[in-house]
Amino acid sequence: MRAMDKNKAQKVRRAVGLTLMYLFMTLLAVILLFPYMFMLLRSLMLDSQVMLYPVELWPEPFSFTAYVTLFTANNYFGYFLQTAKVVVFNLIAIPLSASFVAYGFSKYRFRGKRFFFSLMMATMMLPGVVVQIPLYVLFNDFGWLDSLLPLTIPNLFGGGAIYVFLIRQYMIGIPKELEEAAKIDGANPLVRYFSITLPLCMPVLTFIMVTVFNANWSDFYTPLLYLSKEGTETLAYAIFKDSLYKFVTPDKANLKMAAGVFMSVFPAVLFLVFQKQLIEGISTSALKG
């Protein structure tokens, strides 16, 4: 009898604990998601409502005027195209270039291998600010200012140490036998890289592509340096610029929010589609070094 009471008490305690846990987790989710809702709701307000104090949260009436203004009175479609060009180029260039280099590091023995690998890892620690000024001068000399070349061409050379490192870790885990068979059949190193090893790396490449998308999609700083001419701006840089100089008065807050919603939709959808690879991808690849 007493044992049963004890059991029951324990069960009740666990249920209460679990409920509290869920309450806490939901509260946290509400706090973390509130800024999204805030942005979305205020992007749907009219100028006359968005400027009111005390701040209102519910649009009355719901209106898409802010979005219409972005794409008609402002060049947001043009900015989007600029960003799309950069992103598409880098989505192809970075995985290809990084896996090419990683293939050398993981499958071949050669003189200087350890030296170059350490050198590459050292560049990961290097702060970008040290190289940004001479790079600006260099790209200026090349005549690359106000073009997308500074945002794309440098990525053809390895695409970033962290990506090379992640792919190398992954390639080391691929059994040698697959390569050996192709070698006996007379396939040269380029063919073996492209048609055997590369397709096997899809999981890590997917992870890298999502990361590359997010990094390039949201980068406002590099375009700020290189794209000063009107009409060359990327989306992130345009939002940065407009929120500082154009959409400043309180009645323009809906435009800021609409631009934010437009810009966040793509990475958010991408994340929801690839969330498994993203969350699991980090767990399998990030921490082996």
């Binding site: 987790m25 973390l32 050398g104 590091f105 050669f110 040290v130 001479p134 810009m263 958010a268 767990s283």
Partner: protein
């Protein structure tokens, strides 16, 4: 005669041997070299060359155009002389931000990871909710938060806090609260750290917990004697990347007033000052000098972190 030919033969032998060595080296290494050649070119052109260049610039008076004249250590004298007050201010701000923000993010994202690492219903959905803010571009989150943290007493966060009797705050608009607001805003991205922690937690063998439980270790003992020690590589990784990242923070340009300075320079970080000196004031020489000082500071901080990393569990012992 005979001696001469002998000499000739042995000389030719040396050349031949060298050629054979080269041939052997080439045969062994060519494929590897071919694959890493883009990287080597990239490091030379986009890293090594600019690094040397910026070191040279730092000893010049250079405006990015025609003006390019050697001026010795004048840039550094200015940095530690006339401009010292501002330099100290921006480094102070950056350090303060890093010292609070990095450990705070580390701890809170850890707790978040522990929370969503439980085997309970719908936990995956919560992982998605907590990670979602991370995918929001930095510019956008800057714009959102400067709206939420509206300094007006009728702004949304002030209205909310007012319900709990908390007096309205100036947030980014007043000097004492600006840095704290930036730190709080940064917490929105906790999900990024959470995901890395989840990876570390998953790598801890479940058997260890079983054994500890059988030995009678409670929740706290298991946490401090298994979870924490086995997570140290992750803590270390987060610490290093966190320090390097925090020292280069420039997202204040989005929401801080006066071109990223904030009220009374309270949000003025070193990376933003370097940008201003180079691309607004067109003083490439001085900006390069500042960049090199920042580089040395980061290198020292990273080295100290590495040298004091005895506490990191490497798996060998």
């Amino acid at each position: 005669m005979r001696i001469k030919t002998d000499k000739g033969v042995s000389g030719g032998g040396k050349v031949n041997a060298f050629l054979a060595f080269l041939k052997k080296e080439w045969r062994m290494s060519w494929a590897g070299w071919m694959f890493i050649s883009p990287l080597v070119i990239g490091i030379a052109v986009f890293t090594a060359y600019p690094m040397v260049q910026s070191l040279i610039y730092s000893f010049y008076n250079y405006d990015g155009g025609r003006l390019f004249e050697f001026n010795g250590i004048a840039n550094f004298r200015y940095m530690f002389g006339l401009d010292f007050e501002e330099v100290a201010k921006v480094f102070g701000n950056t350090f303060l931000y890093g010292i609070i923000s990095v450990p705070l993010n580390l701890c809170l994202s850890y707790l978040l990871a522990v929370l969503v690492n439980q085997k309970i219903h719908a936990v995956k959905a919560f992982r998605v909710f907590y990670y979602l803010p991370v995918v929001i571009p930095g510019v956008v989150s800057g714009v959102i938060w400067s709206q939420i943290m509206d300094p007006s007493s009728q702004g949304v966060l002030n209205l909310f806090l007012g319900k709990f009797g908390i007096p309205p705050s100036g947030f980014f608009a007043t000097a004492p609260t600006a840095l704290a607001s930036a730190i709080v805003m940064n917490l929105w991205g906790l999900g990024g750290g959470m995901v890395l922690w989840l990876a570390a937690l998953k790598n801890i063998p479940a058997g260890l917990y079983e054994a500890a439980r059988i030995d009678g270790a409670g929740v706290f003992r298991r946490f401090f004697f298994i979870t924490v020690p086995l997570s140290t590589p992750m803590i270390f990784y987060n610490l290093v990347t966190g320090i390097i990242g925090a020292m280069q923070t420039n997202n204040t340009m989005v929401f801080a007033s006066d071109g990223g300075r904030g009220p009374k320079d309270s949000l003025y970080f070193i990376a933003v000052k370097i940008y201003n000196e180079a691309f607004i004031a067109k003083d490439f020489g001085y900006a390069s000098a500042l960049a090199w000082v920042l580089f040395i500071v980061i290198a020292v901080l990273t080295a100290v972190t590495f040298l004091t990393s005895k506490w990191v569990y490497t798996g060998d012992e």
